[in-house]
């Protein structure tokens, strides 16, 4: 059942021709060449394939492309996907939050959404936000510290 599906990816209108049940992950990586989005478990447990769908983080391995028709998809290739994304990427590098890198795109997108929605997330809030992103190098501590560093750099509001 091949049909054409139109979706907005990183602000550009793209068309995919194929089965509507094709995973968004496969459309991104194989048809559109956007290989920044990684496949880990393929069953929604690890968060490596995280992308933004209308601004919310989702596992692209669990999204059939037909449900994305007419919606906004942002991937790690889009430095403007979330405000502050580039700063977070830099801090992940300088704080040693990147090891093998397979989980990094998903973690950066998810943490960027947290930093956008929450002014001063504490350790518990950061852990909760990243609960759906597994790092098999187990480098969580430095990932949390990278996020905390950006929180610390934020100006404190007048009390």
């Amino acid at each position: 059942m091949s049909e054409g599906w139109t979706l907005s990816v990183n602000g550009e209108e793209r068309t995919f021709v194929g089965d509507g049940m094709t995973r968004l992950l496969d459309v991104l990586r194989e048809s559109l060449g956007l290989v920044g989005t990684k496949e880990g478990c393929g069953e929604g447990e690890c968060g490596s394939c995280s992308v933004l769908l209308d601004g919310d983080v989702v596992c692209s391995c669990l999204v059939p492309v037909f449900q994305v028709e007419g919606r906004d998809v942002r991937t790690i290739e889009d430095a403007t996907a979330v405000p502050g994304l580039a700063a977070l990427q830099d801090t992940m590098v300088t704080e040693g939050g990147v090891q093998c890198g397979a989980c990094t795109p998903g973690i950066v997108l998810t943490a960027a959404v947290l930093l956008e929605r929450s002014e001063r997330p504490d350790r518990a809030a950061i852990r909760e936000a990243l609960a759906g992103n597994l790092c098999r190098c187990t480098g969580y501590e430095r990932i949390f510290r990278a996020v905390e560093k950006l929180v610390d750099q934020r100006p404190r509001g007048a009390l």
Partner: protein, 267 residues
């Protein structure tokens, strides 16, 4: 839903896992996500009325749910990470009918009812009558869950929820329990009334622990009652060994969780 091989989908967080693992293909796929009849949370005369396609992220943000069903918010926050909560829906959790669905014991404890629709019309069923066996429900072929209704909380109502998994976050439950009970004062001592105790991962489907509920009904609030309830809960279930846990562990932990939840009533 006239096509016999049609499948209705919402967040697809269960369906896609099976599709990928098995290479299963579908005929017609019907998307329920944008149907207004299945959307939104509203107040409806003593009930909160939740659209079946409401995601767990939405549930976590809804003031009405926080006010009347705090344990539903708690359960929603334990279902996968953000990625899953943004897509998975309460109706999907119910329709998938897994014995370990985390919102299901909560809906049993809260005394929820479902609005079901099919080509022959709409009907309401008590959620306690919905599951019939392992992944078997009273939903007819082609039928849909439209709304999930939860009664308003009462001022003297206690609600408790506890899930035990391999890790704190993003784990499939080994045991999941939800409790609702009213605290009624009789002769200077608080007693329990209208007790509903839901449990998951201890049977082929989400169940009410009816014997434990009967023991708790009218019992005084306190550590003694909590201990007796724990013993009864362990005795009344017959869980299985599987990849996630063992029958012995499940029965043991169920007792501990029931004791803690009942004990929390006096806290």
């Amino acid at each position: 839903m006239g096509a016999p091989d049609a499948v209705a989908v919402a967040g697809c967080t269960d369906l896609m896992v099976v599709d990928t693992a098995t290479g299963r293909r579908h005929g017609a796929v019907v998307d329920l996500q944008r149907l207004p009849e299945l959307a939104g949370v509203r107040d409806d005369g003593g009930w909160i009325d939740i659209g079946a396609a409401v995601s767990f992220s939405q549930l976590r943000r809804e003031a009405l749910v926080a006010e009347h069903a705090p344990i539903l918010v708690q359960a929603a926050a334990t279902i996968g990470g953000w990625q899953i909560q943004n897509r998975a829906t309460i109706g999907g959790n119910i329709a998938n009918a897994s014995p370990v669905g985390d919102s299901l014991p909560v809906l049993l404890a809260l005394g929820a009812e479902l609005v079901l629709a099919s080509s022959s019309g709409e009907r309401r069923v008590s959620y306690a009558d919905f599951h019939r066996g392992y992944r078997e429900t009273v939903l007819e072929p082609g039928g849909l869950i439209v709304r999930v209704r939860v009664p308003h909380a009462l001022p003297d109502q206690f609600q408790g929820f506890k899930k035990v998994g391999t890790r704190e976050a993003q784990a499939i439950s080994k045991v999941v329990v939800a409790l609702s009970a009213r605290r009624v004062e009789v002769g200077g001592q608080e007693h329990l009334a209208d007790v509903r105790l839901g449990a998951g991962a201890v049977a082929a489907m989400p169940i009410r622990l009816r014997r434990t509920e009967a023991l708790l009904e009218g019992a005084p609030v306190g550590a003694d009652t909590a201990t007796r309830a724990a013993r009864e809960a362990r005795a009344e279930v017959n869980p299985i060994d599987d990849a996630r846990s063992t029958a012995r562990y499940r029965a043991h932990v169920l007792g501990r969780v029931v004791r803690r939840l009942v004990g929390d009533i006096s806290a």
